[in-house]
């Protein structure tokens, strides 16, 4: 179907976009890659009166290494991250970018749009939760920096005020000895995962010094599996520790039955994905180059 009629505004700077938002009020929405917004508008589930297009704002798409962090312009496309050697320095970012939907979606969809959408099934929030991530929010009066864990409030809900936008995403490089991996089960490429697991850990020999585990698509937002982390932290990663982490991850999950799978199945699945992600993350922490892809039906 066609979307309902709307007014189209083209912003030439992020500041101007913010000004447009304040002026146009609640019925205005930003347009980034359009890979979430446009399908919703075509199904007439979203019916904004005004669209403020960010795609012509210069200097919003970049990947920079600066002061021990990677800085992503809000309009950096998934495909740019997928193909960036800089981003690949944190392998879990490459896992994430390369596994989002298909080429067409990756060529359009943006990291900023993905976080702002806060889709319970979105990949970026899950992965970035395992790293130290800050979201730069530009408002009419001030710019503030919000840690990712405070940025995403609920399903489809963020800390952004109506006249604020995401200008940049900053990811701190993990310390030496770190490794991470992101693995999802997807029925086919252009669909969201059934469940996913992101693991970022620091190894000291065969002991896990620290670990963050996040689960995707099994709750209203990405879930931090704290008990699963505790099962590994300070431990040698034995089969027993792995099983304990897997069980704890299952317990932390809170999935809903839908066409992607039943509650019980998703719970079982997410445990298995956590286990695999830990295994890959460990190998990477030990300096091994490991290619992982999502699992497809």
């Amino acid at each position: 179907m066609y979307p309902r009629a709307f007014h189209y505004h083209r912003a030439s700077s992020l500041k101007e976009a913010v000004a447009m938002l304040s002026q146009l009020g609640d019925d205005a929405k930003l347009l980034a890659g359009g890979q979430s917004l446009i399908p919703l508008m075509k199904l007439r589930f979203a019916n904004p009166q005004h669209l403020v297009d960010l795609n012509f704002v210069p200097g919003t798409s970049y990947i920079k290494e600066e002061g021990g962090a990677l800085r992503f312009g809000a309009l950096t496309r998934h495909a740019e991250i997928e193909n960036s050697a800089t981003a690949a320095k944190i392998p879990i970012l490459h896992d994430c970018a390369a596994g989002i939907a298909d080429v067409q979606v990756r060529n359009r969809g943006t990291i900023g749009g993905s976080l702002a959408e806060a889709d319970p099934s979105g990949d970026w929030a899950v992965v970035l939760m395992t790293l130290s991530t800050e979201v730069c929010c530009l408002g009419a009066k001030k710019t503030r920096t919000v840690p990712l864990s405070d940025f995403i409030k609920d399903a489809y809900t963020t800390a952004l005020a109506h006249d604020e936008l995401v200008s940049e995403v900053v990811v701190k490089a993990p310390p030496k000895g770190s490794g991470g991996a992101y693995i999802a089960f997807k029925r086919s490429a252009p669909v969201y995962p059934t469940a996913s697991a992101a693991v970022q850990l620091i190894m000291d020999g065969d002991v896990c010094k620290d670990v963050v585990i996040a689960l995707g698509c099994v709750g209203l937002t990405a879930i931090k599996a704290k008990d699963a982390e505790a099962a590994l932290r300070g431990q040698r990663i034995t089969d027993k520790a792995l099983s304990a982490a897997m069980e704890a991850a299952r317990a932390a999950a809170d999935p809903q039955s839908d066409m992607r799978g039943s509650t019980d199945y998703k719970r079982a699945l997410v445990g298995a994905l956590v286990k695999r992600a830990i295994e890959v993350a460990m190998r990477r922490a030990h300096g091994e180059q490991v290619e992982v892809g999502h699992i497809y039906a």
């Binding site: 179907m1 066409m259 079982a268 699992i295």
Partner: protein, 820 residues
């Protein structure tokens, strides 16, 4: 016409497709590419309910929207038309089917009203403003529930049962009594899915007030069937309906049943004073309300076997679910019996077959139509029996297959299998996949707890229907046989132009038709123009023309061949006259002046332009006795069928039987329950191959569809008839990342029933569905699980293996061994 031995310069060769250049460069012409002056855009208002009474429809707000030209409702349409033809006898025959719901809606997504506007956006806006008041009724979504008639869809029929009939041959009771063992299977279920053509349905219709004719530009894939339905429905002389199709982006049978939407578009055009109406279906509309494949439940199956595991009889009860309206049904109630015994030799069988309506999308003849359900059932029976008796799956098949020396083989219900060699296909497939190696790997993997299964699926793709089988479901049906038309001419400047009554959707008809004609005339296929795409005005169609049911290689190319031979005979006669020699002195070839006919004795020649010139624009040269030469030859090919015996349900129902044997090796991951195809082989036999890459392409395409159906694609409804898979995110059609590498092999057993030895193909018998079920079954027997459904994804495997909710062998299968 007796087939004169053409030299096979082109038939059988891997000629690149003539249509490729156009299609791959984006220069195809599809229905939605057509734009016309004054065109209006139609949007349907659809029911959110699966089953409800329509209390009122208020279109006033929609009509008030600027740019809206008119609306249509069911109540407005009903008095102008006859209900669509029903193929069923009573009770199904009493069903009244209209293109817009009249007093009730019977599935979610059923069109209730239509809005016509100056732009598609306005039509979308206005459609939202149509107010429909419904009074919800109890929906029935399960076929067996529906047959209890607690909630009836079509009051005029008085029951949800559309059709019932018993197909019984031989002596089943005796065979069961004398059996060494009897295996009983409580319930098997073949799921509902659909094909997903890239291009959705598109209709442009114009009811032209100047000549009182209806013009259609659309992508219906069986237009000669559609015009028969439309003519009766709209009370319009059939010659007043012109249908043209151009390139079609896939159909797989699903576009056969777009005639109700075609009717609405014509009526809308009439109301709009003759302005052309365009309707372009959205993907969600396509998934919820175009057509799905038939769902079928197999109940109370009893199989008699002798001491060697040879099946001697099968008795079973089959319940087919055709959704809310029968439409092309109940033809599916007999079409499965084209492959009644599958590839097996058993002689005694009784199948009690019932079809019912339910509150779901109507079905349409989806790729593999009605036969795949039955073949899947038979393959499940064979694997379960083999396992119960401790016979390996390959060995079980060899003991039960029809033997190569038995062809042509007459089945218990009178079908004649033309040719085949199933044991050889099995051997080729086993060789390609490395069966023995995989068996060893499987055993080793099992010891480590890995679940690997090897499955064989043997299937038949019966092609070129005898429409007389309609009389088995309805003795009063006025259909039998099969025919196809073609025309072959030299145009005024000597161009060779072929027209066919088919409407290809990727099957390469332009290429294969050119290959056939090139061999008849001994010229290069590039010199031949093939007009495909249906056009009533070309006058090459019969009542069976279209592209469906695996038949072009036989019906279409036989017609083309016949027309080319007629043309060749005329050309020869004319050339002999001009060159003053005998006809047998004439040879066909290509000379300095292009394609020509030569007198061998004198070396004199005349080219195609010369011949065409005499007939078309220089005809005073022609003596009176040659006035019948037109160089414009129409030929209608007719299949050599008889009307089947309606009482015994006996007769030959299809002309050719292509076969496929697939083997899959599947591993079920113990942690994620995701089934992975580790290896896959598809061996095909469609008789003499006309163009190998086209055949191979059809095999890959059918294999992809089948793998999608087996593992990913299912049309799911909840208990109250909401469709839960109405977008591609939920329906997840198979994509390239899901495809295993398919090893392809083929054997050729030429058909004695077609002039070229070719058999129709393209549906692939949905071979992967049987094959993957078989492989999963092989992996799961040891777990006490029966693969009782044709759809198996990670979630359903989890529910069987961990939840123990489904597929439990103890509840489903019983073996009774008799002391001999």
């Amino acid at each position: 016409m007796s087939p004169e031995g053409d030299k096979k310069n082109w038939v059988g060769k891997p000629l690149p497709r003539k249509e490729e250049n156009r299609l791959l460069r984006g220069r195809g012409k599809f229905a939605d590419d057509i734009k016309m002056r004054e065109m209006l855009y139609l949007r349907f208002v659809r029911s959110p309910y699966a089953h409800a009474k329509i209390v009122s429809v208020d279109v006033s707000a929609a009509e008030a929207v600027p740019g809206v030209v008119c609306t249509l409702t069911g109540a407005e349409v009903a008095p102008q038309v006859q209900p669509f033809i029903e193929i069923a006898p009573d009770p199904g025959g009493k069903i009244k089917d209209y293109a817009l719901a009249v007093s009730k809606v019977r599935y979610q997504g059923e069109p209730v009203a239509a809005v016509m506007a100056e732009s598609p956006g306005i039509a979308d806006d206005a459609a939202e403003l149509v107010q429909v008041e419904y009074e919800a009724l109890d929906p029935v979504v399960d076929a067996e529930e529906a047959l209890k008639d607690a909630s009836i869809l079509h009051e005029e029929a008085g029951t949800n049962r559309v059709w019932n009939g018993v197909f019984e041959y031989g002596d089943v009771e005796k065979a069961l009594k004398e059996a060494a063992s009897v295996v009983s299977i409580d319930r098997l279920h073949f799921h509902r899915f659909s094909s997903t053509p890239l291009e959705n349905n598109v209709v442009i219709a114009q009811w032209n007030p100047k000549d009182e004719r209806i013009y259609y530009w659309c992508n219906n894939s069986f237009p000669s069937f559609a015009i028969q339905f439309l003519s009766a429905h709209l009370n319009v002389h059939i010659d007043r309906i012109r249908v043209e199709t151009s390139d079609i982006g896939g159909s797989f049978g699903i576009k056969i049943t777009s005639y109700p939407q075609m009717a609405v578009c014509a009526l809308a055009s009439k109301k709009a004073g003759g302005r052309p109406i365009k309707w372009v279906e959205t993907r969600s509309e396509h998934i919820t309300s175009s057509a799905h494949g038939n769902e079928r439940t197999f109940r109370d199956t009893r199989v008699a076997l002798d001491k060697d595991g040879v099946i001697t009889a099968i008795a079973s009860r089959h319940i087919d679910d055709c959704g809310a309206y029968p439409r092309y049904e109940p033809l599916g109630c007999v079409i499965w019996s084209q492959v009644f015994p599958g590839v097996y030799r058993f002689k005694n069988a009784r199948i009690d077959f019932t079809q019912t309506v339910t509150n779901k999308c109507p079905v349409g003849p989806n790729r593999g139509y009605s036969r795949m359900q039955h073949l899947w059932f038979l393959e499940r029976v064979v694997d379960i029996c083999a396992h119960e008796l401790g016979i390996p799956a390959d060995e079980m098949r060899l003991r039960n297959y029809i033997r190569p020396e038995e062809f042509p083989y007459t089945t218990p219900n009178g079908c004649v299998y033309d040719s085949g060699n199933y044991p050889k296909m099995l051997q080729v497939a086993k060789g390609l996949i490395g069966w023995d190696d995989w068996k060893k790997k499987q055993a080793a993997a099992r010891k480590e707890g890995h679940l690997i299964g090897l499955g064989i699926g043997t299937t038949l793709d019966s092609g070129t229907n005898n429409f007389g089988q309609s009389q088995i479901v309805n003795p009063g049906a006025p259909f039998s046989g099969n025919s196809q038309g073609a025309n072959c001419k030299l145009d005024i400047y000597g161009e060779v132009v072929v027209a066919v009554g088919s409407c290809p959707q990727g099957q390469g008809h332009e290429t294969t038709a050119a290959q056939v004609v090139a061999d008849v005339l001994n010229i290069h296929p590039d010199l031949i123009t093939v007009r495909t795409g249906f056009d009533t005005e070309r006058n090459v169609h019969t009542g069976f023309s279209g592209t469906y049911a695996s038949q072009f290689a036989v019906s279409g190319l036989s017609a083309v061949h016949g027309a080319a031979q007629k043309l060749k005979a005329e050309m020869k006669r004319l050339a002999a006259f001009v060159l003053e020699t005998q006809e047998d002195d004439i040879e066909f070839g290509t000379g300095a002046q292009g394609p020509e006919l030569r007198a061998k004795s004198t070396g004199k020649s005349i080219n195609y332009w010369g011949l065409a010139n005499i007939v078309n624009v220089n005809s005073a040269v022609l003596p009176v006795e040659m006035h019948d030469v037109t160089l414009n030859c129409r030929y209608i090919w007719r299949a050599p069928f008889k009307v089947p015996d309606k009482v015994r349900k006996y007769g030959n129902l299809t002309l050719t039987y292509a076969s496929q044997l697939h083997i899959a090796v599947v591993e079920i991951d113990r942690d994620t329950f995701i089934p992975h195809i580790l290896d896959y082989v598809a061996v095909d036999d469609c008789g003499t191959v006309i163009n190998p890459p086209i055949v191979e392409g059809q095999v890959y395409g059918a294999t992809a569809h089948g793998i999608g159906a087996a593992l990913m694609e299912s049309c799911v409804y909840d208990a109250v008839g909401n469709m839960l898979t109405s977008t591609f995110s939920d329906y997840t059609p198979i994509t390239a990342v899901n495809m295993p590498k398919v090893k392809y092999g083929h054997i050729e057993t030429p058909s004695p029933h077609s002039y070229s030895g070719a058999k129709g193909m393209g549906e692939g018998g949905a071979a992967p569905i049987h094959t993957i079920s078989a492989a999963l079954q092989d992996a799961l027997f040891a777990e006490g699980i029966i693969v009782d459904d044709s759809f198996n994804n990670a979630d359903s495997l989890f529910r069987a293996m961990v939840g123990k909710e489904i597929g439990q062998v103890g509840k489903l299968v019983k073996l009774e061994r008799r002391a001999q």
